[in-house]
Symmetry: C2
Subunit: 338 residues, 2 copies
């Protein structure tokens, strides 16, 4: 972290930024993220033996690498008017490729964990309570047992499919990190850590140059939220997920812009952000269950358990939307503002 | 309806019942329900040609027959101290047999309708909205199409199984209505319509003899509600349904006792009662989907759709519990009272 960067980031108030140029606010943030990127990359190399299929240390380092890549990329996008335009666009594209490639392995691991946990709770380990009728217990036991057999097979199928996908993603990530394309990205970030290619406009006051783009990032988010479907009735219509996924990305862009301009993320958006992450995870887990059910020659009990699992994850999608709405801090009037 | 009965039922206030004996309150109610039973029976005969598999008129008459059977049976149970004990117990058992037999046909028809409707909305007839990404649309279309094939087969399977069950229940109901056992019930109800076999205790004031049993019926309900599991986390544990089903029956007994003593059902319990009916319907529909999934040699796509359907109905069970809790008019403190 550069001394100047630390100084700027401790000031939360707009008033103190009035004296600073856009470059003096933007550069330290980008330099700090670039340093973080390089630190994570070093950690990743130290923790990745060529034979390992992802140790904990390497996973953590890859996560940190993705986080700084996203922040640099988001900042280059939102504040492009204050930066060398061609350079910013080029680096942003490459960082998106990198974080996308690294994210895949993590996503498959998360998805498998989520699905196995759901299967475990669906197949029901709890004992029936003592006061229930014997007949009801027996019927329920029979259903749980039927689901149990299918759940075990479905779990094995998902484990096989998602572990294979994860292994492939891991190889792809290692290959990417060894590619000349990656080395070019790492070189560009190393340069960024020492000097930020600013546009002449970056000499203007921060308030003039940065607040407009930051406000627009927020406005894009508010517009997307206002357009989200209020229809709670169709939890199985996966086509309706896309605007929610897009909103998640816009919330992220707004968060990074807020970090640049105010020095910290907007605390009121932490809970809605987590809800959109859960929404994405549940949506993708449901799709993985549906995809596994299309495997040829599976047993009906397996398909049945996958159907239960699919519906369960789609209901988690619905729940996440409810949590998002409940935690969203702005009223409808504010959302549809200017 | 006897003139006396009409007079009593128009007075909603306890004060006016202070002058009446328990028999003067109980007898008109039972006589009115007995007359309703006989009227429904006549209607049912008029609408049931031997070759018909249940016309609309016959269904409606069977419903009315069940309603009056339940009210007579519930009243005989709750207020048995004011009635000829052996007679009351005997008739109550026979009315439970009758309404149970008649209910089965209706239950299978309702279950099939509910499941087909759910399958229809699960397989999704809505068009994707225009602003979604093309990729997301295609994936969702693929999933809907996969679910669509299975849903059509699952629907056909359920239709076959539940229509067969319904036809059998219809035959059983017709057989029951032609049996000597039924003729004995009908004779007993015809006698009840003209004279109610009261116990000597029925000569005591209504307030003294009837309010105690009515309060106990309410207390049984409140105790059952207080004991209902608050655990929302396990929607697939069917063993937890039994206390809810029992609560539904206790709410019904309380409703009938309220009708006898106050002349009308308790209006604040209408919504919780409907929620418990929906709970029962969803619980049984889920069990039917699970049972259909155990059919030998079904296609995986069919089993998958049945799994989705099962999970969907179990979530309806959970929703019904939420609606019940939200509409329940008493606070926890009142529920755990004396």
């Amino acid at each position: 972290m550069t001394p100047g960067g630390a100084g700027v980031r401790r000031h939360d108030h707009q008033t103190t930024q009035a004296d600073l140029t856009a470059g003096a606010v933007l550069a330290p943030y980008l330099q700090e993220q670039a340093a973080e990127f390089l630190r994570s990359l070093r950690l990743h190399r130290e923790n990745s033996a060529p034979t390992d299929a992802g140790t904990h240390g390497a996973e953590e380092a890859a996560g940190a690498l993705r986080r700084s890549s996203r922040r640099i990329g988001g900042t280059l996008h939102t504040f492009r008017v204050a930066l060398d335009a061609a350079w910013a666009e080029q680096l942003r594209t490459e960082l998106a490729w990198l974080s996308g490639t690294l994210a895949r392995e993590h996503a498959y691991a998360t998805r498998l964990g989520r699905l196995l946990e759901a299967l475990h709770s669906l197949s029901g380990t709890s004992l029936p309570t003592a006061r229930n009728g014997v007949g009801a217990d027996r019927a329920a036991d029979k259903e749980r047992a039927a689901l149990g057999v299918g759940a075990a097979r479905a779990g094995a199928l998902l484990e096989r499919q998602l572990t294979l996908a994860r292994t492939r993603a891991h190889s792809a990530a290692l290959q990417a990190l060894g590619s000349s394309r990656f080395h070019a990205v790492a070189d560009a970030v190393a340069l960024l850590a020492s000097e930020v290619p600013l546009a002449p406009a970056a000499a203007a006051p921060a308030e003039e140059m940065l607040h407009g783009p930051a406000d627009r990032a927020e406005q894009h988010l508010l517009t997307a939220v206002a357009a989200l479907s209020c229809d709670q009735a169709e939890p199985y219509n996966e086509a309706q997920d896309a605007p929610w996924h897009r909103t998640r990305l816009l919330l992220r862009l707004h968060r990074y812009a807020h970090e640049v301009v105010r020095g910290a993320p907007d605390p009121v958006l932490a809970a809605p952000g987590r809800a959109l992450d859960l929404h994405r995870d549940a949506s993708e887990a449901a799709a993985a269950a549906a995809s596994a059910a299309r495997t040829p020659r599976i047993a009906p009990a397996t398909a049945y358990a996958l159907g239960v699992l699919h519906a369960d994850q789609r209901h988690e999608v619905k729940t996440a939307r409810g949590v998002f709405r409940a935690s969203w801090p702005y009223t409808a009037a504010a959302v549809t503002g200017p």
